[in-house]
């Protein structure tokens, strides 16, 4: 390798050219590994070969089973050498090779010997290796030594066994849990890292024992914590205790808040941030509690270190979601971050500003963002687009400038995900802000004139077909649609034909012209386009051969396809495999949605943007629920689904069976959909039902229950219970739930269940149906107009005392969640230090009655809160009902 003829000046070239691993090849290195078998070991040479093996492994090279076994056996021979450097390499190499269970036996005796060695460092390393390669049976043999090692005087030995414990807790929890006394002792260690590792392990062992965690936190917050890392852990555990304990009712103070606040003055930045984050995430945090944390974070916004700026803006961004006003003080510092070289920081700053800005600052902000957008990557642009969409929904009156911004960026260069985010945003704005509809549709039309993404063109055409005919002048869209038939690929052309047909079906005046256009499509060179054109011509032509009535035609064109595509695909495949004289019957396709196994549902969350497949198109949860319920014969006659609640958890996290419930509200019925997951691999549950006791819900009577036939491990399933209730009445009540099932043992090796099962029960938490379940959150773009056009005929006004409250924000939020209505025009945000506030709400009450609410809050001298509630609706009984909800809430 040495090149003696080269001059010293050429060192650099020499370095580049002659890497010690130049031309390294796995086969040759494996050959070299034979030196491990030499009777006279050369430690230096052996270390070099191990280094080469490590290099190969670190490059992502893999060894076959035979190769790995050969190397492993050879490496075990090296235990004969007394060379310290080589022994250290051997420990590492064995870990890297991770030998299989039947091979481990070769090395255990050597490692056990080292574990009892007088040399501390042999002990520490042997512990780490053994714990890495061991299985349960061996672990019970060495458990005694590990327990001793935890309290070893040498911190390296103690840390080795503690970190081993953290890893082993995942695979052999029952063994590691027996070490808690020793771990408890190690928490008091004077060695900083031992304390850190012990604290982490002790918390994991006791995490389900609230009292123990609370005691641990109490003692450590008063004692000494020796390293910033351990301090961070302690802050995290403290927040957990605070979350579970709530306020001290007597003094109104939050336990441990002083400790967290004290940590804001710690010398390690890591600790300061952890404390600041913990404070900002306290539930129901007051502005007095929040302020010190925000002040500290604000200082870090102008730090010279990117990591600190990032950490600060990231935390503030999160705070802005719930306490936008608290972050407004940081806006000036945040604005200077828009030009930060680090794009992650700049994007976070922008999105925070979008959340904290008020209506008057929108235009100025948009100007700044326009410059910023040109030099960031798509993944950041998507985040900004999402933030702008939320801003527009918050300030609907600003839709013009925001919609213009979206349409401008839609015209610029960008990848699929980015364009899709913009299109999705425009579609949502069109749906939620009626005034934005016409301009939004035109922006989309212009986009498809020059759109390179077939998927987006077809989506827009579909949307245009549904919304365009309902506008004031539908004819202006026809040109854009027909251009697609002339200029685009077959998929887009086919979609354009369908869109044309929708216009023809809805707008009578356009029908003759649409006919002409569709007739031209009959000569298309793609059969799908021709077929569609023929089908639609016959449908619209109305000779009765395809559809008989006008409404049937519209149902045909606009109705949703209520069969899951996966089921359709399976049925068609089966049909092709078994040829039959009978034509395929679409009614034979099952409509039940097969649930996804848990493993697939969990988003990986680690994949960087742009590398994964594009996410599937957003589907509305309400539509999916409606389809699911319609597919169940027992519920098909319940009529139109009014509202489905968000899932309510009925079990705590990490229990054997995870169950949540979705409340589906119909005019005369309520259906509880219990989503159940079995988290025990060794069990199969059958005939799963939820037995509901409705004795505290007098107006409800159970009428049907649909059991779940089987619930295997990790594959969620649903069981349903339906109740009848008086029509249109917002009946409320409390339901207690018991999960009942037959449990069968499953053999983990074969996955087969035993034949006989045992009946068992599992208590679930109670569930309540509340008044808010009968109100849909539906916003209005201009509250004043809506309020005035509703008129004072059915208005009801009254005043209520709310008693002493923590803050104005808390009072406003409490009433909003009680009513379950949509806050309008950003009025859910209360300006800091204000003593009065008006909040505007809108919604639709069961029976499809529009309701508007104007809430005026005030505080008197004695800190008593009062509220004036004005309700307008289309029906005075509904206005009264809203008052009743507030009066009884």
């Amino acid at each position: 390798m040495a090149q003696p003829l080269l001059k010293k000046d050429d060192d650099r070239d020499d370095e580049m050219e002659y890497s010690p691993f130049l031309g390294i090849e796995k086969g040759a290195v494996l050959q070299e590994a034979r030196v491990f078998n030499d009777p006279q070991l050369d430690p230096r040479r052996c270390s070099q070969v191990i280094t080469k093996l490590l290099y190969l492994l670190n490059q992502g090279e893999t060894f076959t089973k035979i190769e790995a076994t050969e190397v492993f056996f050879a490496v075990t021979k090296l235990f004969q050498s007394k060379d310290v450097g080589l022994r250290r390499m051997v420990y590492l190499m064995i870990k890297e090779l991770s030998p299989s269970a039947d091979e481990v036996i070769i090395v255990t005796s050597s490692l056990m010997k080292d574990m009892n060695s007088r040399t501390d460092m042999y002990r520490a390393n042997a512990i780490r290796v053994l714990c890495r390669i061991t299985d349960g049976t061996l672990l019970t043999q060495i458990e005694r030594y590990l327990k001793q090692a935890i309290v070893d005087k040498n911190p390296v030995v103690a840390s080795a066994s503690l970190v081993s414990g953290i890893h082993l807790l995942q695979t052999n929890p029952e063994i590691v849990k027996r070490w808690s006394n020793e771990v408890q002792e190690a928490v008091q260690s004077r060695a900083a890292l031992v304390q850190f590792h012990a604290l982490g392990l002790l918390h994991q062992i006791r995490q389900n024992d609230r009292l123990a965690v609370s005691k641990l936190v109490t003692s450590l917050t008063r004692g000494t914590v020796r390293s910033p890392l351990a301090q961070c852990l302690l802050i995290r555990y403290t927040s957990q205790v605070i979350r579970e304990s709530g306020m001290n009712n007597q003094t109104g103070e939050r336990p441990f808040y002083d400790y967290l606040e004290g940590c804001l003055r710690h010398k390690a930045e890591m600790v300061i941030f952890e404390a600041a984050r913990a404070i900002t995430e306290l539930s129901g945090v007051t502005s007095r509690e929040l302020n010190p944390a925000i002040t500290v974070l604000q200082l870090f916004l102008s730090s010279s270190k990117p990591v600190l700026r990032f950490a600060a803006v990231r935390t503030l961004n999160k705070v802005a979601m719930t306490h936008a006003t608290a972050v407004t003080n940081c806006n000036i510092d945040m604005e200077s971050l828009i030009s930060d070289q680090n794009r992650s920081i700049a994007t976070l700053a922008i999105t925070t500003l979008l959340k904290t800005g008020n209506e008057s600052s929108v235009d100025r902000l948009m100007k700044q963002i326009t410059n910023f957008m040109s030099d960031i990557a798509d993944e950041f642009k998507i985040v900004v687009v999402d933030a702008i969409r939320s801003l527009c929904l918050k300030f609907p009156l600003k839709y013009r400038s925001l919609m213009n911004f979206l349409s401008n960026i839609l015209r610029e260069e960008g990848g699929f995900d980015y364009k899709k985010a913009i299109v999705d945003s425009i579609v949502i704005l069109i749906r939620d802000i009626p005034d934005a509809k016409e301009s939004g549709l035109l922006h989309l039309c212009e986009f498809i004139e020059d759109c390179e993404f077939t998927y987006l063109s077809t989506q827009i055409l579909h949307f245009l077909g549904n919304e365009g005919p309902k506008t004031s002048d539908p004819s202006k869209y026809i040109r854009y649609i027909y251009n697609r038939v002339i200029l685009e690929n077959a998929t887009v052309r086919a979609a354009a034909v369908s869109t044309l047909a929708k216009f023809g079906a809805t707008v009578d005046s356009l029908k003759p012209r649409i006919f002409i256009l569709l007739k031209r499509c009959l000569f298309d060179n793609d059969d799908e386009v021709r077929d569609r054109a023929t089908l639609y011509l016959n449908t619209l032509g109305g000779d009765g051969s395809v559809v008989e009535t006008d409404s049937a035609m519209k149902e045909f064109l606009f109705g949703s396809f209520d069969i899951p595509l996966a089921n359709m695909e399976t049925s068609l495949k089966n049909y092709i495999q078994e040829p039959s004289e009978e034509p395929f019957d679409i009614d034979s396709v099952p409509k039940e949605v097969k649930s996804q196994p848990l493993a697939e549902k969990k988003a990986p969350g680690k994949k960087p943007t742009g590398l994964g497949a594009p996410p599937s198109a957003p589907t509305s949860a309400a539509d999916a629920y409606e389809k699911l319920l319609l597919s169940i014969p027992e519920f098909a006659s319940f009529g139109k689904l009014f509202k489905s609640s968000a899932p309510v958890e009925l079990t705590e996290a990490e229990t054997e069976y995870a169950v949540n419930v979705v409340k589906h509200i119909f005019d005369n019925h309520v259906v509880f959909q219990y989503n159940c997951t079995n988290t025990i691999p060794e069990q199969l549950l059958e005939n799963v039902v939820v037995v509901v006791d409705a004795s505290e819900a007098e107006e409800f009577s159970e009428i049907a229950s649909k059991p779940l036939r089987s619930l295997s491990y990790d594959s969620p399933g649903q069981t349903f219970v339906a109740f009848g209730k008086p029509e249109g009445v917002p009946a409320v009540g409390k339901f207690s739930n018991m999960l009942r099932f037959i449990v069968k043992e499953v053999d983990p090796s074969t996955g087969e269940a035993e034949e006989d099962g045992v009946e068992d029960e599992y208590q679930l938490e109670d569930l309540e149906v509340v008044a808010a379940d009968y109100i849909l959150k539906v916003g209005v773009s201009n509250f004043k107009n809506a309020w005035e056009s509703m008129g004072p005929d059915c208005e009801r006004v009254d005043e209520y005392g709310l008693g002493p409250r923590e803050s104005l924000t808390e009072a406003v939020n409490a009433v909003i969640s009680l009513l379950g209505m949509q806050p309008c025009e950003g009025t859910e945000v209360v300006a800091s230090n204000s003593r009065s506030h008006t909040c505007l709400l809108s919604g639709v009450y069961i029976g499809n009655v529009k309701v508007l609410v104007r809430l005026s809050f005030g505080i008197d001298g004695q800190k008593e809160f009062a509220m004036k509630l004005a309700v307008r609706s289309e029906d005075e009984s509904v206005s009264d009902a809203i008052h009743e909800i507030v009066a009884s809430g």
Binding site: R12, E15, M16, Y18, S19, P20, F21, S47, Q48, I50, T51, L54, Y55, N58, G60, G85, R87, R88, M89, L92, K95, T119, D120, M121, Y122, R132, N154, P155, V156, S159, V163, I166, H167, A191, L193, H197, P228, L229, C232, L233, E269, M270, F273, E274, K305, P306, V307, F310, A311, R314, N342, S344, E379, P604, G605, K606, K607, P608, T609, L611
Partner: protein
């Protein structure tokens, strides 16, 4: 969890790549993503100046040390601040082993020792040792001085 430690030379060739809890099929994505991140941002950056990036709940802290770019990726408790701590330990250990800011050749010459240092610093995704002097002793199987 400290999901990955990756080191590459100035051309983006991998020198060390260690993953913890990252499925095999995602590793290649990570490799190319990190190398590109370095190529885009590390030009002209001073030695050991820490840069940061994030994607959803995953954080990346990275830096340059002589000819070597170093990336650490983490999630949950290993946020940008904990990763800064980890990467500082890694850079100081490498400097210690190499005796100076490493060239690629020097790094490869000390490759075995650097692997041992990494083994002392990160163990299956958990930070184990943080003091460079202690690490220097541990890789030679010497007990820490304070003991």
């Amino acid at each position: 969890m400290l999901l990955a430690v990756l080191m590459a030379n100035s051309e983006g060739n991998i020198l060390v790549e260690r993953f913890n809890g990252v499925p095999a099929e995602e590793r290649l994505h990570w490799r190319s993503f990190l190398v590109k991140l370095g190529a885009d941002n590390l030009k002209g950056v001073k030695n050991e100046e820490l840069l940061v990036a994030s994607h959803k709940s995953v954080y990346i802290v990275y830096t340059v040390l002589g000819d070597v770019s170093i990336f650490v990726v983490g999630k949950d408790e290993y946020d940008e601040l904990a990763l800064s701590e980890a990467i500082s330990v890694i850079t100081s250990a490498i400097k210690d082993v190499c005796g100076k800011v490493p060239t690629e050749r020097l790094f490869l010459d000390k490759y075995g020792k650097i692997c041992l240092c990494l083994d002392e610093i990160v163990w299956k995704g958990l930070l184990e040792n943080t003091d460079k002097d202690r690490i220097k002793r541990l890789i030679r199987l010497k007990p820490p001085t304070e003991f």
